[in-house]
């Protein structure tokens, strides 16, 4: 394992009301590592990665991102959010802005990047996700796959050190999944620290350093993909794998 931990969780617990969503989560992710998180729905995977940029708050334990412990301090939270990019299942692009404006909004208003520079950065990222020709359109005019690539570019515009993906391909038609995964694979080969909640096991096999399997709010298994897929240690993981790979 390389260098110091970028993300560390120690004995993290979270409840929604009386429902115990996350139970004693321990996790340590080094710089440049790629983690794939999988598990049945309701297992707490999304909630767990949403702790990392404090879209959700944990109630006990410690979440440390890039050396900063997350608490109620708003300035710390905003500092972390500038370093952590996030891609959502439902894209969440800003519908009242063009693609280019979606990309430049945060650099201009959060990072105080000059407008022209922000636009150049945005265009170079749109080229990277292979849709520079859509810059002037509104999100609603794009296909789902294109929207998700814009969303990835929007997150990258902030030059994050960590990227979180919350089921980025679950809302996409099958023929569009590949174009999004290709962009993500490319990003992974460039050394980005990534945590990806997904059921795309092909992606996990090729990209992940480690696969984390969650069930009922617990991390049940954490292993390199080869090990996890060929020899899952728990019955729950075996069942899950047979369900999603079975057909």
């Amino acid at each position: 394992m390389s260098a110091a931990a970028m993300i560390e969780m120690r004995k993290v617990n979270k409840w929604f009301g009386s429902f115990h969503v996350l139970k004693d989560i321990d996790l340590k992710i080094g710089q440049g590592e790629k983690y794939v998180v999988c598990g049945p729905s309701g297992s707490g995977k999304s909630t767990m990665i949403r702790l990392i940029n404090r879209l959700e708050a944990h109630q006990s334990g410690e979440v440390i991102v890039d050396g900063i412990e997350l608490g109620d301090d708003l300035r710390k939270i905003e500092a972390i959010r500038r370093e952590v990019g996030m891609v959502f299942q439902s894209f969440n692009l800003f519908p009242h802005l063009t693609v280019l404006e979606n990309l430049t909004l945060a650099p201009i208003w959060v990072r105080n990047t000059p407008g022209k520079e922000a636009e150049e950065l945005a265009m170079s990222l749109l080229e990277r996700v292979r849709i520079p020709e859509q810059a002037a359109k509104y999100p609603g005019q794009l296909s789902g796959g294109q929207q998700q690539r814009v969303a990835i570019a929007r997150a990258l515009c902030m030059r994050p050190r960590i990227m979180l993906f919350d089921e980025p391909t679950s809302a996409l038609d099958p023929e569009m999944i590949k174009e999004v995964l290709d962009v993500m694979v490319e990003l992974a080969t460039e050394g980005m620290t990534m945590i990806v909640v997904t059921h795309e096991m092909g992606f996990a096999r090729t990209v992940a350093d480690r696969v984390v399997f969650m069930d009922q709010g617990e991390i049940v298994e954490s292993a390199p993909p080869g090990e996890f897929f060929s020899a899952p240690r728990t019955e729950r993981a075996r069942l899950f794998l047979s369900q999603i790979l079975g057909h």
Binding site: M86, L93, F94, H96, A106, A155, M158
Partner: protein
């Protein structure tokens, strides 16, 4: 509106009539009934308003004598300056007239989507400064006119415009506060909105004009017009706040999360991501509230301000011209209708335009 679905277009007039007016027995009966009522009412109305109406007369007696029971428009012709401008010095009437034009121009400019930019606020500031200069004077060779003498249409327009100009930002703040996670802020907003919405506007105006001075320390006086204006602003803000809140609720949580995840602070998120979308959604109900507020300002007559409706009332009390209430109030109705109808048409166009743009965004 040729696109209305209730009017099916057909080739010839009989076909059209059969399709639209006599498509069923109840429909046919309704058509005949309406034609009968119009047959009865229209001729005498036209007769009263136009054919037998008197347009010029030196006084009411001559007017009554000249008309065989028709309308006496000579009254409106005689009194229109007072009705429109109240007790403003007669030789200076061009000033409120120009102020009216500036105000209407400001609203018209704000109505065009090409002008929905941040500098619209500057245009308004400049425009309102020009209006203040025109109305008060006291500079550039314009004689000073104290605001006790302002009245008529310009007062109605000013109360509405200043009312909305201040109530709207206040309403946005109230709506945001009401959705805030800070209990004290939320409580204040809820308390204010419910309190103001819970009492009639008349009682607010009475409070502002009669009770407020009692609470002020001796020697401190606030102008009556200003007090009424403040009451109107608070009243409008409470209603508009609920409209804006409705718009805010229409914004999906994902938009907030995306903005949060990008590191936006609360105000940046609100101004750049949330409000532009929320206000767009709330345009139709906002315009509806604007129209209601425009007419509500006429209630200031009960505390002795001379808005359009009060000047009409006063003009009717002159002994020489008593008894022409119908003509006078019809005149007022026409003015109110012209303003309200254009607002309503505008909001319909806006909705259609935004719907089209929205469609464009959805491919």
């Amino acid at each position: 509106m040729g696109t209305d679905p209730i009017f099916r277009t057909a080739g010839s007039i009989p076909d059209w009539a059969r399709a639209n007016l006599f498509s069923s027995w109840p429909n046919a009966l309704l058509t005949i009934g309406i034609v009968y009522v119009l047959w009865q009412a229209l001729p005498s109305l036209v007769n009263w308003a136009f054919i037998e109406a008197v347009w010029h007369a030196p006084d009411s007696k001559a007017c009554r004598a000249a008309s065989g029971g028709g309308a006496c428009w000579a009254f409106v012709a005689e009194k229109h300056r007072f009705i429109l401008f109240g007790t403003y010095p007669f030789d200076q009437h061009w000033r409120p007239a120009l102020a009216c034009i500036v105000l209407v121009a400001l609203w018209s400019v704000s109505a065009l989507r090409a002008f929905w930019k941040w500098w619209l606020a500057l245009v308004w500031t400049g425009g309102l400064a020009v209006i203040a200069l025109l109305m008060w004077g006291g500079a550039f060779g314009l004689p000073y006119v104290e605001n006790e003498r302002w009245g008529g249409l310009i007062l109605t327009l000013l109360l509405t415009s200043f009312g909305l100009a201040f109530a709207f930002p206040l309403a946005i703040l109230l709506a945001l506060a009401r959705r805030s996670t800070m209990p004290a802020l939320q409580g204040l907003a809820v308390g204010f909105i419910e309190l103001v919405r819970g009492v009639p506007l008349i009682s607010l105006l009475f409070m502002a004009s009669v009770m407020l001075p009692l609470f002020l320390p001796a020697g401190v006086t606030i102008d009556k017009l200003l007090r009424a204006q403040i009451a109107l602003i608070l009243f409008a803000a409470a209603y508009l706040a609920e409209v804006v809140r409705g718009g805010l609720q229409a914004i999906p949580a994902g938009q907030y999360e995306a903005a949060d995840a990008l590191g936006f602070s609360y105000w940046r998120k609100t101004l750049l991501v949330v409000l532009p979308q929320a206000l767009r959604v709330s345009i139709p109900p906002l315009v509806n509230s604007f129209i209601a507020f425009f007419k509500d300002t006429s209630l200031v007559l009960i505390i002795g301000l001379f808005d359009l409706l009060s000047t009409i009332k006063v003009s009717l009390t002159e002994p020489a011209w008593t008894g022409f209430g119908v003509e006078a109030y019809l005149f007022a109705s026409l003015i109110y209708f012209a303003f309200c109808y254009s607002m309503s048409r505008y909001s319909q166009n806006l909705e259609r335009g935004l719907a089209k743009a929205e469609e464009g965004r959805r491919r």
